[in-house]
Structure formats: structure tokens, C-alpha cells
Symmetry: C2
Subunit: 333 residues, 2 copies
């Protein structure tokens, strides 16, 4: 891939956070397939902020960049033809830069309740159901604790930052697209076509996307790290033909034993079965339940919890031991 | 603000792009206030990809990170409590990292047509109108050229990348929020409360947001760079009390003379009038029409066109000459 920066970028810090936001009630969260979910509360009006803090700073105030209508903070990033955008150019000129997504836009999410309500009230089947999780539903499905507002005694979740976490939850608006989530699998295949062979890390809903991506691009997936995503169904035929040739790590947090719902026993046991089948076929596959490794208190969102870099080190170690080294085709031209 | 990275990040490259995507017709683009817009074509099913290429790379394939349901690529960025996320941690471990937003989610946009259609057909006023621009409308409103599909002879737009550009256009879903765009102004105020005094750069729709932000936080805006955004209305009283104390740059591309619509004569003339009023009150205000400076062929999206860094240099020079230097309060703790 061609380089976009016109010079090296040395950052003292970079990242993203939310500002603003409030908690409102919704009677219309919508669940996939099953219609309306239980009433609850969602975070709305939060604003996503991405920032770059250069190592070599000037003595001026930082710059906040705010996009226009029908755009997002992408406005200030890499140009459409792959050249450097203003965000990093200003950062390399010594400015701290903050670029936002308007409230209700992009990664700031929006409130789908009025749409879902109109759909439910009028039985207008032409309206897509737009899934959003309530805070209450997320607390249980993502296993933050045993009941809404209560963390596990050994919780690794950054408890004081729970509102920042809920700010990152957005409506699953892919239901407005023909073919829904299949578009993401197709786009992932297009991504590998562009960047070359890659290790693919998928989370939760995207577990099955990882399997479908292997089916589309078996030679471009060098390893699949599947964090609490589904590992089923897989056929004996495709295990033999493709899946057993690709290293798989199925990684699970704590407190899923006995848990109902999407991220509990059924999905985890399915992953154990797939890992066993892959190993029986000679594949390099690992099922890792963190408490079995002495790491306790992690939820479904283990990549952002207090011990997230310790778990990242486990993943990095697994990659080093299981993924064959090769010069990546994505080397910069 | 507390640092989130646990070590310096040295990047050979970073940025964002889209993969996938297709052009579909819509009869339901919706315009703000005026109801349905003209039928046309929009880009859907594109996937936003953000990437980090470290200067010190290992010899393994890059890592692609794919979030789960009701999440976005934010999953892999800074944790809710402000610590380093996996994207940069893996990059600092030597991996090239790519993190996506599912199609139909976050910065990948979505297709609001079924929602707008149901609203239009049933006259169900409870459904929000979700503005999206057609490609045809964008071509004229953002002044890419004189008619759809034709660029200006002196165009600075990266013409071969026009599909990448259209991929970044998303529905204005803030219409699903109570108070709509006012939430973004409130969130910008919360952002300045968090990071301290800042130079604020606004584009297009956000021009009025910049003025409203000054009204809310007059001491925290050190300068306003208003790129083809509205500069009106402003009262004589607020010019005297606050606006004339804050440096303003109103920056305009080419081909707006005689242009109708949102980004033409009316808005530009309003900015000239505001700049004149600010200067009469002793303020540091600049109206800059790029062709007057010998820079021709720029559209409404000048920050991403072929000469974008040349224009950035003009803005950087203006800042150096007009914005008072001071130690920013956002220095890392």
C-alpha cells in the first residue's frame, strides 16, 4: 500500500474518547430477529473525539477540527486518493489535533428509537429494525456483572469509566443495507485484496464473519483470533480443505460458564468443539478460557479492561508461536 | 489530559480509507427542512478502515481488527478509562494494524432510504427525516464541477478517487436526537472544558456551530478557522462583547461566485460582511478567497484536494500571525 503521510509521525499520545452524552429511556431497542427488546436505557448525544498529540509540540493551542453536513471526522484524515490529510499534517507541524464526529453521526452513534417505534406501532414491515442494546441488556450480555449496575467482585472492567464505554455503543444500522452484515464480509475480503495476507482479529458478532472471510479468501487469512465470537457451524469438508490450515485462537473471558444468551455456554461450547475438530484434523487451534490461565474477572469486552495489555501479551505470544512468519505483501511501496 | 499510550508511537504511516461499496439509486435522499430531495445515487456498503503502520515493523502479517454487534472500531482504540487500547499496542509491538467499522455502522455510513421512504409514504411525522446527499447533489453543492460527472477544467479534486470520497458521506442521523445538531455544540463545549483553550476549525454545516461554541465558551476558543461555513447571523452586541476578541479566518475555495445553494454567494457574502464588521470593531479577522491568492480550482472540500497541504500551510501561517501564543492547558499530566 502506498504511504499516505508525507513524513514520519512521532506521537507522544493518540487515541479517542467521548464527550457529552446523556442517558435516556427507550421502549424500542429492537433485537435481531426477535423483534422488540426489553425497555431500558441507552446513551445518546455523546460525541466521538479522536486525537493526535505530537512528540514535538509547538507553543500554540491545540486545533479542534469539526466536519460538515453528511460528513464525519474522516474529512480531516487521509484524502480520498491516499495522500496525507490535515489532521496528521497539523500534528506533524506541532499541533495537538482533535477531530470529532458530530453527535448522531459516525462513531457518535444515534438514537434509533423513533424509527423503531414508528415501525412497531404501524407494523410497517418496510422499515428496517435497527438494533441497539440497552445499558441493562449490555450489562448482562457482555457480562459486566451479575445484574444491572453491579460488577463482579473480581471485575477487571474499568468501573469508573462505564459511561465512556456505553458512549461507544451505536445502532446496528447495517439492517438498512440490502444483505445486512454480509456486506462487511465482502468488504473485509476487499480489504485483504488491498493489504495482502493478514492476521484477522474478530470480536463477538464478527466471529462468524471471520469464518465467512476464510471461506472467501482462504489464502489471505494467516491466522484467526476469535474473541468470544461464534466458531460454528463448520463442516467436516471445509475443516479438511481450508480451516485446519489456518491457526485459530478462540479466546474467552470469565463468568461465561452457565451464562445464557449470546455470549455464554452455547457459543463457548461450540468453539471448544470446533477447536477439537481442527486439532483432530492436524490444525493449530487453541481454545483459551482466561480463568483456566489464572486470569479472572474479565467480561466480554476484555480488550478494554484493566488487564487488557496483559491479555494482549498472551495474544501476541500465541501469534509468535502459531502464525508462520513471512514478509507481508503490504510492505510500503 | 492524561496520556493513554504506554510508550511513544512512531509511525511510518497512518490514516484511513474505504473498501467495498457500491452505487445505488435512491428516491428518498431527504433535505433539511424542505422534505424530499431530488432522486439520485448514493454510495452504500462501503467499509471504513483505519490503519497504523509502525516505523519498527516485525516480520509477521498485519492484524485486522473487527468489532462486534452494537460497537464500532472504537473497540480497539483507547479504553473507556483512557488507557492504551489494542490497536496502538499491537502497532507498538511491530504489527501493522487495520481496524474497521462494519458496513452500515459508524463511519461506514448506512442507507437511510427505507426509513425516509416509509416516512414519506405514510406521512408518519413521528419518523425523523434522515438527510443524505445524492452523488448528484453533492457534486453541485460541494462544487466539484459544473454538472454531475464533469470536473472544472482547473479542478484540484483528486478525480480518480471520487468513489473513495463518496464513501465518506453518511446520513445526518442527528435528526434522531432531541435538539438535533445543538448536541454537537454542547459536546464541543464539553470537549474544550476537557482539553482547555483551542483553535477550532469548522467546515460547512459546522460554521454556525463554531459561532455557537464561542457563545458558550468565549474564553476557550483561541481562534476560529471557518472553512466555507456560515458566519451569520451575528449581532453588533456580541461582536463587541466577544466575537471581535477571537481571531477568525473565513476560508473559501474557487467557483463559488455566482453559485446558488448552501455554499455559494449568500453564505460567502455573509462571511465577508461579518469579517468587515469584526475588523471595524478592532478584531483580527480575515476573509480569504483562494482564487484571490492565485490558488485556483478548489471545491468545497479543499482540505482533501490535490493542493491540500499548500492550503494547510496558508492556514498554519495565518495561525502563526494571528493566534496569540500561550502554553496550552492540555499539556499532558
Amino acid at each position: 500500500m502506498r504511504r499516505s503521510l508525507s513524513g514520519q509521525l512521532v506521537l507522544e499520545d493518540e487515541g479517542s474518547f467521548f464527550v457529552g452524552g446523556e442517558v435516556v429511556a427507550t421502549d424500542y431497542p429492537m433485537l435481531p430477529n426477535t423483534g422488540l427488546g426489553a425497555p431500558g436505557h441507552i446513551t445518546v448525544n455523546q460525541m466521538y473525539v479522536r486525537y493526535w498529540i505530537p512528540a514535538a509540540k509547538n507553543d500554540l493551542a491545540p486545533v479542534v477540527m469539526v466536519h460538515g453536513s453528511v460528513h464525519t471526522g474522516k474529512t480531516w484524515e487521509t484524502t480520498p486518493d491516499g495522500r496525507e490529510g490535515w489532521a496528521t499534517y497539523f500534528a506533524r507541524s506541532g499541533f495537538s489535533v482533535y477531530a470529532v464526529d458530530h453527535c448522531g453521526r459516525g462513531r457518535s452513534g444515534f438514537n434509533p428509537s423513533p424509527i423503531n417505534q414508528a415501525r412497531a406501532d404501524s407494523h410497517a414491515a418496510s422499515l428496517p429494525a435497527i438494533q441497539i442494546t440497552t445499558r441493562e441488556g449490555a450489562w448482562l450480555n457482555f457480562r459486566l456483572g451479575p445484574s444491572y449496575g453491579r460488577f463482579w467482585p473480581d471485575s477487571q472492567f474499568p468501573e469508573d469509566a462505564v459511561d465512556q464505554y456505553f458512549s461507544q455503543l451505536v445502532p446496528n444500522a447495517e439492517s438498512t443495507l440490502v444483505d445486512g452484515g454480509a456486506n462487511t464480509v465482502n468488504a473485509l475480503a476487499a480489504l485483504l485484496d488491498r493489504i495482502g495476507p493478514a492476521i484477522v482479529m474478530v470480536h463477538s458478532q464478527s466471529g462468524s464473519y471471520g469464518l465467512d472471510l476464510i471461506r472467501k479468501r482462504p489464502k489471505l487469512v494467516k491466522g484467526l483470533i476469535n474473541i468470544e465470537g461464534s466458531c460454528t457451524p463448520v463442516s467436516a469438508q471445509e475443516i479438511e480443505a481450508t480451516l485446519a490450515k489456518i491457526p485459530l485462537l478462540s479466546l474467552w473471558g470469565d463468568h461465561s460458564i452457565g451464562a445464557a444468551g449470546l455470549n455464554g455456554d452455547e457459543r463457548r461450547n461450540g468453539c471448544m468443539a470446533t477447536v477439537a475438530a481442527l486439532r483432530a484434523a492436524g490444525g493449530r487451534a487453541t481454545f483459551a478460557l482466561l480463568p483456566d490461565l489464572g486470569i479472572r474477572g474479565n467480561s466480554h469486552m476484555l480488550m478494554l479492561e484493566k488487564n487488557n495489555l496483559r491479555i494482549a501479551d498472551l495474544v501476541l505470544e500465541w501469534i509468535g508461536e502459531n502464525v508462520p512468519k513471512n514478509r507481508a505483501k503490504e510492505a510500503l511501496i
